[in-house]
């Protein structure tokens, strides 16, 4: 099998996940997209491991071992990530990433940024709710 097939599929999946991370509003959907990116990497690792285990002398199956580690870490990550998202949701009443703008410039004072005060007001309204 040509190595290009899994490599290209992996690249496409990675960029799909990338789009999801950047474009999705719901934090849980962002986590899903992160999973997509991780899986794209996994596919790459496996494909290259299979190729190299035939071509090279001794590879220790490092690609597959790393894939297993990545899967484990991804499981841990999704657990912690979900806990954080739930905590945020409980405190703020929302899990929309673009509404969590506490670090915005001029968040509390009237800065030159016109979006920030309205966002801040919305957040405060939610916080008091």
């Amino acid at each position: 099998m040509h190595l290009a097939y899994p490599a290209v599929l992996s690249a496409l999946l990675f960029c799909t996940g990338l789009y999801g991370v950047l474009a999705r509003r719901n934090a849980i959907l962002v986590l899903m997209s992160v999973e997509l990116m991780l899986n794209a990497v996994n596919l790459n690792l496996v494909a290259f491991d299979v190729w190299l285990s035939r071509a090279a002398e001794e590879t220790l199956h490092s690609g597959q071992a790393l894939t297993l580690f990545t899967i484990t870490i991804a499981a841990a990550e999704i657990g912690i990530g979900l806990a954080i998202v739930l905590a945020v949701h409980r405190n703020r009443g929302t899990s929309d990433i673009d509404k969590l703008r506490d670090t915005a410039e001029g968040h509390e004072t009237d800065g030159p940024d016109h979006d920030a005060p309205t966002a801040g007001q919305a957040e405060k309204a939610e916080a008091t709710a």
Binding site: L18, V21, P112, D113, A116
Partner: protein
């Protein structure tokens, strides 16, 4: 102990007292009063012992050089002759009286510890000036007095008058000190030493190259310190300080330092005829001008301040006719009665709750409230007006006698013009002095109107001091004029018949005319109500005085002026009164000549700094600020935007890296 050791202790003790007072003032308030009075008292006793041991004999000289200091050596030197010994006793007496008086006067003042320490330091500096045999060491004391006067005059720094007065006193005296310093350097360069004895030796041998220049430069410093025309303007304003400080500055220290300095270095001035003429003219202008101004003042302390300037004019007049014995004789007697006048004025201000003579003239029975101040002030005013047999008579007669001696051509190498100037000005001033002394007495003690408020008896510390000082004012002159020539140069100080008759005559005329005017105007007083008293008459004297000073300008329309038609001075001076009340507009002239140009220059510099320099600075700052605003807009707080930008940059970098790697 040797006399030298005792003399060294005299300035040292108040200095140590001041240092201890400043250190312990906050932590151990119980020690403040002993630390203020005891060192001064001890140095008075030591000064008296030194005076007795010196006894008018050969001057005591002692010197030690701590370290070589370049071409002209600076030595810690003592030079105690009869002048130094007696002036030191006077300083000790007045300073002790002032310290004791201040205990009562500022008894509730929270800043008393620092005040007492500064008075001690002031005393120490003056004693250093008196005893020092080295001009550089003398200058140290001279400058310490300047800075102490700044702090003490500004003691009521809550009032704007006191702040302005303290800065003015400092700046004006400093204006004289700069030429003074240059003159000292020139003198030392010519003489090759700062030691007074060596300088006098050089002068005796005619070794001075530029006597006129040196004398005039030194005169500038003397005029600043001794408040002579044209640098006298700080002294009336310095009345914004506490009354004991006024007494100290006017009677024994600060202003006496200038006269004493000229007396010490009189041969230097005698070497230049021009300097003597300048000195005589300065004395004459000062005397007459201050007499006229004193007659128009409304603030009781400002009357006394102008009288001080006038009496200092007598002393410089005596120096202008080269009789330093007469000058220092007048310095001693004036020190006693002027200290008494000021301390009594403090009691009166406390009792009446105002410092305005116009207000006092509308108070009945003020003299019954303060009998001690009334009697002692009467004595002191008689001494001031030079009525025999009070001490002022003898000292003033010695001055007039010396002037007459020169004017009639009995003295060689002193121009007769100087003698005539001093003599005529002295006689006119005697008339004016008697007039304003009479006016002060009448307005303060013969007022008619509402009862003066009763605050009970004045503190014992304040009244006892008055009687102590009344003794020398009353009696010293008659005994001293025979004894003093032994201590001084040996010239006769006894009053001559001509000047005695003339001086006493014009004084009597002045007094009687003023009395007649007062009788004429006093009927008006009842018709024009005037006056305000302090808001807290039950407070201690310092608080009452501070309130009186602060309220004078708003109530009467000026620190020195009151619109009182019943004032005899107004009738006596006629159209001149308006100008005399403001010191003949000298302050306005200075304001136009010096203050305005400096302020204009300052505003020009401020304009340049704000509008020109700052424009460039702001221009340089504008670009980073705009960049900052642009960058700040990117901080939306949206994490996804951040990551998008980050990844976009990464992609661009990766593409660039690939292109470079493939050589495209």
């Amino acid at each position: 102990m040797t006399t030298t050791t005792l003399a060294a202790l005299v300035p040292l003790l108040p200095f140590l007292g001041a240092a201890a007072g400043l250190l312990l003032g906050r932590t151990a308030p119980g020690f403040v009063r002993p630390l203020a009075v005891l060192p001064t008292l001890a140095s008075l006793v030591l000064a008296a012992v030194v005076a007795v041991r010196q006894g008018g004999d050969q001057a005591i000289d002692a010197a030690t050089e701590l370290t070589p200091t370049g071409s002209v050596p600076i030595e810690l030197a003592l030079h105690i002759d009869g002048f130094a010994a007696l002036v030191a006793v006077l300083v000790g007496v007045v300073a002790t009286c002032v310290q004791i008086y201040s205990m009562g006067y500022l008894r509730e003042d929270p800043r008393y510890p620092s005040y007492a320490a500064l008075v001690s330091l002031f005393t120490s500096a003056m004693l250093l000036v008196v005893y020092s045999g080295d001009l550089m060491v003398l200058l140290v004391g001279w400058e310490i007095m300047g800075i102490c006067s700044y702090f003490l005059v500004g003691h009521y720094w809550e009032t704007p008058e006191a702040r302005a007065a303290s800065i003015k006193a400092f700046l004006v005296t400093k204006l004289g000190d700069v030429p003074f310093l240059i003159g000292l350097f020139a003198l030392a360069t010519d003489a090759g030493s700062f030691r007074i004895t060596k300088i006098l030796g050089t002068v005796a041998n005619g070794g001075l190259d530029h006597p006129t220049l040196i004398a005039l430069l030194l005169l500038a410093g003397v005029a600043g310190k001794s408040a002579q025309f044209p640098l006298h303007t700080w002294l009336p304003d310095a009345m914004a300080g506490p009354t004991p400080v006024s007494a100290l500055i006017h009677a024994a220290t600060m202003v006496a330092a200038g006269v004493y300095f000229v007396a010490r270095l009189l041969p230097v001035f005698e070497a230049s005829q021009a300097a003597m003429i300048v000195l005589a003219v300065m004395a004459a202008v000062t005397m007459i001008g201050s007499g006229l101004a004193a007659l128009a003042q409304d603030d009781i302390k400002r009357v006394l301040a102008y009288s001080t300037i006038g009496q200092l004019g007598y002393m410089t007049g005596a120096l202008a006719v080269a009789d330093r014995g007469a000058a220092v004789f007048h310095l001693l007697s004036h020190g006693a009665f002027k200290a008494l006048l000021f301390l009594a004025a403090g009691v009166i201000i406390h009792a009446s709750g105002t410092n305005s003579l116009a207000a006092m003239s509308r108070m009945g029975h003020l003299r019954d409230r303060v009998p001690d101040a009334f009697w002692t002030m009467t004595v002191a005013l008689l001494a001031l007006a030079a009525i025999p047999p009070f001490s002022g008579f003898f000292s003033k007669e010695s001055v007039l006698g010396a002037a007459e001696h020169v004017a009639t051509g009995h003295a060689e190498n002193i121009p007769g013009a100087a003698g005539w100037t001093v003599l005529i000005a002295g006689l006119v001033t005697a008339l004016l002095t008697a007039a304003y002394a009479m006016r002060l007495w009448l307005l303060a003690f013969r007022g008619r109107g509402a009862e003066a408020p009763d605050h009970g008896r004045q503190p014992l510390t304040m009244t006892v001091v008055l009687w102590v000082l009344a003794v020398p004012s009353l009696a010293v002159g008659a005994f001293a004029y025979r004894a003093l020539p032994d201590w001084f140069d040996g010239r006769d100080l006894a009053p001559t018949l001509t000047t005695s008759v003339l001086g006493t005559g014009v004084a009597l005329v002045g007094g009687i005319v003023t009395y007649a005017t007062w009788r004429h105007t006093t009927a008006v007083a009842a018709r024009v109500p005037l006056g305000a008293v302090a808001a807290h008459p039950e407070g201690d004297a310092a608080q009452v005085e501070a309130e009186a000073i602060a309220s004078h300008a708003p109530v009467y329309g000026g620190v020195a002026y009151a619109p009182d038609p019943a004032d005899p001075g107004r009738l006596l001076l006629g159209p001149l009164h308006r100008h005399a009340a403001v010191g003949f507009h000298l302050d306005a002239v200075y304001r136009t000549l010096f203050v305005r140009p400096v302020q204009a220059g300052a505003s020009l510099v401020r304009f340049l700094d704000r509008e020109v320099v700052d424009t460039y600075v702001r221009g340089a700052g504008a670009l980073p600020r705009w960049l900052g605003i642009a960058v700040r807009r990117a901080q939306t707080g949206n994490v996804q935007t951040y990551v998008s930008a980050l990844l976009a940059g990464t992609v661009v970098l990766a593409v660039a890296a690939v292109l470079v790697a493939t050589g495209a």
